[in-house]
Structure formats: C-alpha cells, structure tokens
Symmetry: C2
DNA sequence: CCGCTGTCGACTGTCGCCAGTCCACACCGG
DNA sequence: CCGGTGTGGACTGGCGACAGTCGACAGCGG
C-alpha cells in the first residue's frame, strides 16, 4: 500500500520522481491490474500533493500502464492475449523498419558493433527483471541505431505496454530473452542481409507474442 | 429532455476543452513554431486556471505538438526535413502492417467497402483543412479496419506530428491527398493483393515525405 | 420483503496562491 | 568604456482548498 518515500536530494523534479516511483510500483506488481489508483492515497504515500501525482498519473495513462475507468478514475491496466499479439505485431513492424535502416546506413559497421555489445549484456544476469531490462535495452538500441528519431519515439511509446505484457508472462526462464535469440539479428545485419534480419526479428516477435499472450491473465 | 441533452453535452471537462482549443490554435497557425506558450497567458486567454492549462500543455507535449525548452518552458514544435522523412517512413511501416492485416482479415470485403466510403470523402472539399482531415481520416480508418488496437494507438500518437508536418507544407493544392492517390490502395485490398497495396502505400508515403519535407522550414 | 429516496462519504475537477529559479538589464567600481 | 553585480520581473514547480458529482447505504413507505 505504501510506496517508498521520495528523497529530496535528487535534482530532478518531484513530478519525474513521482512518475518513476509510480511506474516502478506498478511494474513491480505492488499494484495489480484493475487496482484503483486514488490521487489522495498516492499523494499521501508519495509525500507530494495531489496535483503532482495527477500529472504523473496522466503520463502513465498515456504510456498505457494506467487506464481511465468510471468517472475519470484510474486503474492499473492489463492486456488481453489478443492485445499482446497486436502489440508484438506492431513492434515487429517497427523493428523491421529499424533493421532495414540500420543495414542501409553507412554506419552499419559501428551499429553492428554496438549491437554486439548490447547482446553481451543479455544473459549474464540471473535476475529476471534485469534480463527484461537488457532485452528491452537491446531492442531500443536497435531502434536508436536506425537514426530515425520518430521510430525511437514510437517504439518507446509501446515500451510501457510491453513491460505490462512481459510482466504478466509468468515464465521468466523462457529462452525468449536469451542471447541466442538475438545473435542472428546482429549477424544478419553484419552480413548486410536486411531481409534475413527482418525474418529473424519477425520470428522472434511471433514467439514472444505467443509466449506472453498465453501467460497473460484475463483481467 | 432538453436539460438532459444539455448536461450530456456539457460532460466534457474544462481540461479537454482547453486541450482542443490549444490544439486548434496551434494547428491553425495562430501560434507559430518556436513561439513560447506561457501558462499564465494561456490561462488568461482560455479563461481557466494555470493547472488546467498545464495538463493540456503536457498532453500536447506528449502528442508532439509542443516541446520543452529551457527551464521547462514549452514552445510550439516544428519538424526538420529529416524528421519529416523519418516520420513518414514510420507511418509507412505502420500502414503497411495495416493493409496486410486488413487483407488477411475475414472481414476484408466490409473493410474495402468502408475504405471506398472514406475515399469518397476525399476531394469534394476545396477547403485545404478539410482535405487534410479527410486524408488523415482515410488513413486512420485503414488502421482501424486492421482491428489492431495497438496499431491504431501507435498511429494516433504520430498524428499530431503529421499535422505539424503537413501544416508546414505550403502547397495544399498538391495532389497528395487526391482521390486518385488512394483508390489504388483500396483496389489492391479488394483484389487481396497485400504486397501491391503495401507498395502503393509506400510510394504514397515517400511522395508525401518528399513534398512536406521540402516545404518544412528550418525553425 | 421490496423498492424508492435522502443523506453521507469519497473521489476527481478546478482554482488561487506561494516559493524557487533563471534572465535581462540597469548600476556601479575599475 | 568595460566588466562584475545585484536587483526586479517573469515564469514554472508545487501545494492546499473548495466545488461538483457519483456510488453506497440506511431508512421509510408500500
């Protein structure tokens, strides 16, 4: 019920810290899907005013972690299996564009090197949360390396929903985020074979959708 | 009953109305790219409090119409030609997914019919703003008919940016939004030829990117 | 026992206010 | 004349309070 208090030592704004705290609280499962998020309660537990949590909640709403219920009340969002599938199809489309642009880029070599590095971060951690972070970091890096800022933005908009979907997925030990799943992408990019890379990404996304949709609970 | 209808129409919150008003003001060119949007000034001109304006501005910020400058000050956003190109490439990727899903859908016939109807709305209006609306409505309809809610959401997130890009484009009389440009898409969908439809969409987007990027000013 | 109604409580919508901060510009010492 | 300085203004960050609204529930009448 209580969210850890915010230390006043940080230089970022209260709104940003509240946002982070709330996001972490939701993503950590402290608030379950469907739970009502009251402004007064959150303001109390976060030690900030209602207006501040309000803005944070609105941000979370646009991120898709929170959805509006009756009378503007906000509750933690969840995804249906169908939505998970949809989500990963969109993601596949975006990342397919990313690999195409990376391959077509003159900085392809450097990009591939950066991706190699991101891949290395992948399965060294046993902590499931860290695995998820590393996986998302890899894919975000892929989008970034495309040099397409609009693509990065669109991808990040989906990131919140992805976290929800992954959170609902129970089996963290699945090889979904393993290194072997990502190496082929990098290799195809290094070869300059965009179509092969797209196929790999597509398969990767299909598998992930299947996996996480099966595990997503019907809210 | 008149009382009921009045109360029903009055259900929209001040925040939503302020948001609409601000969006309209920016999109109508009343505020130019780079203009500073002061909370107090807007609160005064809109007749609402600063907090209300703030939330509307934050929303606009996430829509991409407004961007944060120094010390959190917000100003009307503009797009570089490069960003316009990026934007339309992302849009092409999303709409390509849309046409693929529409073609693969069992409701393809009905979808094609709905698109035919949307096409009919296209060039009957001489008013450039109406033309833009009809064009965006057609493409949004395309995304909606895919049945992929995440896709619709992602597309709508880009909508604001598209409007500014189109706004910067001077030549409203260009055949960019003409009916002839959109009919081939519908025809390919009716034939069930997804790849052809994707190619048409891709060309359409490339042309549009070229057109609007050339006209976008380097703010 | 059932349905209606009035009241209470909780929550969000909205507002006005105070505090902190940064910028511009006039002012003063060299 | 020039550079440092401080002072005023303007803007955003953040907060507490009031108002409107809807749901829940007890109480009353049939």
């Amino acid at each position: 019920m209580s969210v850890e208090s915010l230390s006043a030592l940080d230089r970022s704004t209260l709104r940003e810290r509240s946002l982070e705290a709330l996001r972490a609280a939701i993503l950590s499962g402290r608030y379950r899907p469907g739970d009502h998020l009251g402004e007064v309660e959150l303001a109390g537990s976060l030690g900030v005013s209602r207006g501040t949590v309000r803005e944070a909640l609105r941000h979370l709403q646009q991120e898709g972690l929170v959805t509006a219920g009756t009378r503007g009340m906000l509750r933690v969002n969840s995804l249906t299996p169908a939505e998970v599938h949809e989500l990963f199809r969109v993601r596949a489309a975006l990342e397919a564009l990313a690999v195409r642009e990376v391959v077509a880029s003159p900085r392809r070599e450097a990009a591939a090197a950066a991706l190699r590095e991101a891949v290395e971060q992948l399965s060294d951690e046993a902590d499931p949360a860290a695995r998820m972070e590393a996986d998302l970091a890899f894919h975000l890096q892929l989008c970034r390396l495309s040099g397409n800022s609009m693509l990065v933005e669109a991808w990040q908009r989906l990131e919140g929903r992805m976290r929800v979907a992954i959170l609902n997925g129970a089996d963290w030990q699945a090889p979904m985020m393993a290194r072997e799943r990502h190496v082929p992408i990098v290799e195809a990019i290094e070869r300059g074979d965009a179509e092969a890379a797209v196929r790999v990404v597509d398969d990767h996304m299909s598998d992930a959708a299947e996996h996480f949709a099966a595990a997503s609970r019907p809210a």
